[in-house]
Amino acid sequence: MIDYTLSERDEQVLAAVREEALICRKYARYYDEHEEEFAPAELPEAKDFKNPFALLGKRDELDSSMGVMSMLVTAGQTWGDYTVRMRRGTGGLGNAALRASGTPEQQNRWGAKTLAMAITEPGCGSDSKAVQTTAVLDGEEWVLNGEKIFVTTGCRAEGVVVWATIDKAAGRAGIKSFIVMKETPGFEVTHKEKKLGIRADDTAAYVFRDCRIPRDHLLGGDESIPKEGAGGFKGVMKTFNMTRPAVAAIGLGIAQAALDFTRDSLAAEGIEVDWSAGPHARSAAQQALIEIEADIEAAMLDVLHATWLSGESKPNNLEASISKAKGGEIARTATQRCLELLGSLGISQDFLIEKWFRDCRITDIYEGTGQIQRLIIARDILGYSAAELS
């Protein structure tokens, strides 16, 4: 059926998430101004809160699916603050990769660790097939060499899923994922990036110098290089199917926070939307409030749709990119427009909205820029190969 209501149990979980989220806001400014520090994995006020994902428990037929709820929980958490969160669980992007492509043994061994995902290199942005980091098999060990940048949660993660090529000539087909734990010799976290926003969030730069890992650290365990040149890379791409909507949800949670702050601040000064009246009954500000809210809601529904599909075990590659493209765009414009509505008072650091404006901007960049997502969408709907539409 087509339905958008939440069960009582769904509501309870989300209410708890929002309650937690509000606590994070107390710390948000501090960690924005103290970029060199990390917010604690768990805040003092947190200990009495259950992990929302645990709260979800098993879903009965009236409840929303795990996938849908996890997006709402994610957005609910970043609605408080992105970089300060109560608990990150095994929040690393590498964990998604492990779940998607890891062997049962690998999942057991590393499932509980926080794993970052290291893809981007100084030379290549979204061009994942241009990976220069190499992995050479030497007896029963892989030897990794190369540099990685923009590694999310890279400083605090216990380990990382690294993209490296075992055969440059093979292009995409030669790219494999390897699990490297922090203590491994030859694996160095060079620095934490200084950013526009999400400053407390750790975005690291890595270097691998003759870094040796056991042969069985190859994610999925398959060392073969598919002829078609698709297979290996597809395996890697698959992990994006879950992360693209999640990344959009992260941004939209922040955008929603910005809109809520804007709405409440203007309401306190007598500017409120009348949902029944028509356009000619609206002030410029009321019209903008409606448009921003529509944009955020549309983008969030795209996110829920993409994850709902995966819950129905239907393919969602197209929808995942739609949600990321739309979410990234709205994360930009919604926060921009909210600040416009609040005028010069909105840019004051007495409030968090200027931080949310900065934090949000990453959404359309990482995990594939809006341009990359549109390229994926266009190829999908046109039935074009990367060669036909580049």
Binding site: D10, L62, S64, S65, H280, I290, E291, A294, E297, L301
Partner: protein, 369 residues
């Protein structure tokens, strides 16, 4: 539970209506537009789908499958994919029937619903728009004043579809209270004393096959039981939410039609020795269309599902319509652009859809229900 899957029954209806749109609407659209004519044959064929009568309870001779705003949204998307003005024509009686189902007294239902239970198309309509450039539904100029035990209606209405053949018009007027809360609806027979329906339909941009008329009400006296909902009156906010959701659903169908026509064209059309779809400028336009069709649909579905739950859908409906009105126009505009010079010629339907898109999305809207 948040869920995006139509029921099997809904998928069946979708398919049926889509086939109808394909076979009965797509080819008719152009000649009907050029000749500004609406064939009775089409109205009758659409009637036989039971889209209007289906929702009427069996007690009144209807199909008794009940009102479902969600199913209605699915139907409107498919019809609009076929052709918006033809879709609006086919659904015009619903502008009268559905408010009657939602707000009417048992007495009113008993009296009027059977008119629509027959096998022949029966026209009735809704009069709400007025001849002002700054028309604002929360501030209607048509007034309903208490007169004895009944009411006296005065004002000017516009773009009332099928008014000349409608047995009754549902006239929306401003009652005792201000704003949307003060909206009242009255069942007025076409021959009511003081109500003048223009001899000729209005000529407008787009919607050329749908006859829409100016209607003047000069102290039209109606009895108390002509007031929809009797002493309770109507829920004006809900009526508007229904109208807005329906209008957004029509926009969605139109937009999807443009997208589905532009996509293959861009793959076939060669310029600079390459299909234009292989140019990022065009490919990204098509990607945007896909993104917006999906986004619009979700907003429409959400508003419809709230209506189905009987919840307050004012916010959701306004979001859906505001979003759809903006994106439908942009999409129709880009669709025409992809066709280039050929899009400007009355050869492909894109130029017609461009006109219909603008006409549809400037009315806060009462094109269907």
């Amino acid at each position: 539970m948040i869920s995006f899957g139509p029921t099997e029954e809904q998928e069946l209806i979708q398919q049926t209506v889509h086939d109808f749109a394909q076979s009965e609407m797509r080819e008719r659209a152009r000649p009907c537009d050029e000749k500004r004519e609406l064939p009775d044959e089409f109205l009758q064929k659409s009637w036989e789908l039971g889209l209007v009568a289906g929702a009427i309870p069996e007690a009144y001779g209807g199909g008794g499958i009940g009102r479902s705003p969600v199913t209605n949204a699915l139907v409107l998307e498919e019809l609009a994919w076929g052709d918006v003005p033809l879709a609006a024509a086919a659904m015009t009686p619903a502008l009268f029937v559905q408010p009657l189902l939602d707000f009417g007294t048992d007495e009113q239902k008993k009296t009027f619903l059977p008119l629509f239970a027959g096998s022949r198309f029966h026209a009735a309509s809704l009069a709400i728009l007025e001849p002002t450039f700054s028309f604002e539904v929360s501030n209607l100029r048509t007034l309903a004043e208490k007169k004895g035990s009944g009411f006296s209606l005065s004002g000017k209405k516009r773009l009332v579809p099928l008014a000349s053949t409608a047995s009754h018009l549902l006239v929306v007027a401003r009652g005792a209270r201000d704003g949307v809360a003060g909206l009242e609806a009255f069942i007025v027979p076409r021959d009511a004393k003081g109500m003048k329906i223009a001899a000729e339909p209005e000529k407008t941009l787009g919607f050329q096959c749908l006859p829409r008329f100016r209607v003047e009400l000069d102290r039209v006296e109606v009895s108390a039981d002509a007031r929809l909902g009797g002493d309770r009156g109507i829920d004006g906010a809900r009526l508007l939410a229904m109208l807005r959701t329906a209008s957004a659903a029509l926009g969605l169908g139109l937009a999807r039609g443009v997208y589905e026509l532009a996509l293959p064209y861009a793959k076939e059309r060669v310029a600079f020795s390459q299909p234009i779809a292989q140019k990022q400028a065009i490919a990204f336009m098509l990607a945007e269309m896909q993104i917006e069709v999906s986004s619009m649909r979700h907003l429409v579905w959400k508003a419809a599902s709230l209506l189905e739950h009987g919840a307050d859908a004012s916010r959701a409906a306004t979001l859906a319509l505001t979003y759809a009105n903006r994106e439908v126009m942009k999409l129709a505009d880009n669709g025409l652009q992809i066709f280039g010079g050929h899009g400007y010629i009355r050869e492909y339907p894109v130029e017609m859809w461009y006109r219909n898109a603008r006409a549809l999305t400037v009315t806060e809207s009462v094109s269907a229900l």
